[in-house]
């Protein structure tokens, strides 16, 4: 009983602390969102304003941009703890490290993936997607962006304190995110075509379940290696 309560408390404490910290420095969060908005507004300038073509490309472009935007904040995931030494406190705490890492990933998603998801229906209007399709696309991001945070955490732990870490992180993580992109964009395209998207969402959910199981363990191993 006490173990379960300890786990719950440590999880909630880390999530609250990280979300609070992100809120106090909300400029960084908004900068990431602004990148998403600007990048999404650039595509029509390059491709041309033809509405049918834009709508055809919208799910894929929004997904790729969301993927890139979620890369921006990844290198910050453990960097403060690494710099001020509180990473050692995490490593020494009696709770399993993978659990605490999962809490940090959860907080990261709340401050990066969730805002991206909430903005998507609005940005989809730029591409002329109907409301129902935009909500479907947002649903695919809802299931998919946690996977990006989970996989990204592994890369962030492995590249912690490494020179050129931010670019290296993208190189490591982007190929691993390919399945999420495929299923997510397919779900968005299905929603836009008015088709059922349960198959794509189920596959995204399977990716989420698998990465929920494995990524915190791998990220914890990476953190132990980085802190040696």
């Amino acid at each position: 009983m006490t173990l379960a309560r300890d786990l719950r408390r440590s999880f909630a404490a880390i999530v609250r602390q990280d979300v609070l910290r992100a809120w106090r420095r909300r400029g960084q969060v908004f900068a990431g969102l602004l990148f998403f908005v600007i990048a999404c507004s650039l595509y029509p300038l390059a491709i041309g304003p033809e509405a049918r073509q834009l709508r055809l490309l919208a799910p894929g472009m929004l997904w790729v941009t969301a993927l890139l935007a979620s890369m921006l904040s990844l290198s910050r995931l453990f960097s403060r703890e690494f710099a001020d030494g509180s990473l050692d406190q995490l490593l020494l705490s009696p709770q399993p490290l993978a659990w605490l890492v999962l809490a940090k990933i959860c907080a990261h998603w709340l401050t990066s993936g969730l805002p991206l998801m909430l903005l998507t229906p609005l940005l989809a209007q730029q591409y002329g997607m109907p409301f129902a399709a935009a909500m479907g696309l947002a649903a695919s991001l809802m299931v998919g962006t946690p996977v990006l945070s989970l996989i990204g955490a592994v890369g962030a732990a492995l590249t912690l304190g490494v020179r050129g870490g931010a670019v290296l992180l993208c190189i490591l993580v982007l190929p691993l995110c390919a399945p999420v992109l495929v299923f997510g964009a397919a779900a968005g395209a299905a929603a836009d075509a008015g088709l059922p998207m349960t198959a794509e969402l189920s596959l995204l959910g399977a990716c989420l379940a698998l990465s929920l199981l494995l990524c915190p363990l791998a990220a914890a191993a990476g953190l132990r290696i980085a802190a040696e």
């Binding site: 492995l158 190189i171 490591l172 390919a178 990476g222």
Partner: protein, 263 residues
């Protein structure tokens, strides 16, 4: 904090309670492994050269011309073995990475590091020869088909592994971080393959499958298997040579820069 450069030389004899130096595990010790690798490597090179010559002779001299594709199909004698090796080597790297994390043997992670450039090379060869075959056959250099795409992503995984290894300065951290990355990548590869198969389009079915009887002439198959064996032995030989260099470079054996500096 004292500088850590002096600790590297002592790590060569780091005791490991779980790994008793007996049986095949004895070769996890650099001192035992190095002479064996030195003896094996030239033989592997020689066998690889002989098998490659035999395979090329069978492939270009004996094997019949393909009824549909003409002479251009002969590129499979390098393309298919390279594609096999590219996937097999990543699996090997993941196994060595797992061994390194489980047993704490530095040699295992060095094997993974030694295999990575060869794996990337075979992946690149498979992609380039595939493009050279695709141009006359399909009429295009590149198609976004399942196997091409997953091979391209595999190349990115290899390059990421090598980039991570190059970016971390402390060899021990680099070795263990790369081991974790190889494991994560190998778990992700089947998912990547399945996901890109969703828009599987133009690629012809697998030429050789384990369940169905091969549809190709026996001499074609023989040539391909000879070339695959040659690639395999080449991989072993190159990996052994590279591991011996890594052992010296990282100061586990005398002769490298690091151990001279420490002495």
């Amino acid at each position: 904090m004292p500088p850590t450069s002096s600790t590297d030389t002592t790590l060569a004899h780091r005791p490991n309670s779980r790994a008793r130096p007996s049986g095949w595990l004895a070769y996890a010790s650099a001192v035992r492994f190095d002479p064996l690798a030195g003896r094996l490597a030239p033989w592997c090179f020689a066998a690889a050269a002989i098998l490659a010559l035999a395979g090329l002779y069978v492939g270009f001299g004996v094997a019949p011309t393909d009824a549909q594709q003409g002479e251009v199909y002969r590129i499979i004698f390098i393309h298919v073995p390279a594609a096999w090796m590219s996937m097999f080597i990543y699996l090997l790297m993941a196994i060595y990475g797992g061994l390194a994390l489980w047993l704490g043997t530095r040699l295992s992670s060095m094997m993974a590091s030694a295999l990575a450039p060869t794996g990337a090379l075979f992946t690149a060869i498979a992609l380039v020869t595939g493009a050279l075959w695709g141009q006359p056959t399909w009429g295009t250099w590149w198609v976004w088909d399942a196997r091409l795409t997953s091979e391209l992503l595999l190349l990115f995984l290899y390059l990421g592994f090598m980039a991570l290894e190059g970016a971390i300065d402390e060899p021990r951290r680099a070795e263990r971080a790369c081991a974790v990355l190889a494991l994560v990548g190998s778990l992700n590869l089947p998912v990547i393959y399945f996901s890109v198969q969703w828009w599987n389009t133009l690629h012809q079915g697998a030429s050789v499958s384990l369940t169905a009887a091969p549809t190709m002439a026996r001499t074609m198959l023989a040539g391909m298997l000879l070339m695959a064996l040659a690639c395999w032995l080449y991989t072993i030989a190159v990996a052994l040579v590279r591991v011996r260099l890594l052992l010296r470079e990282r100061g586990l054996l005398p002769g490298g820069k690091r151990s001279e500096g420490a002495a």
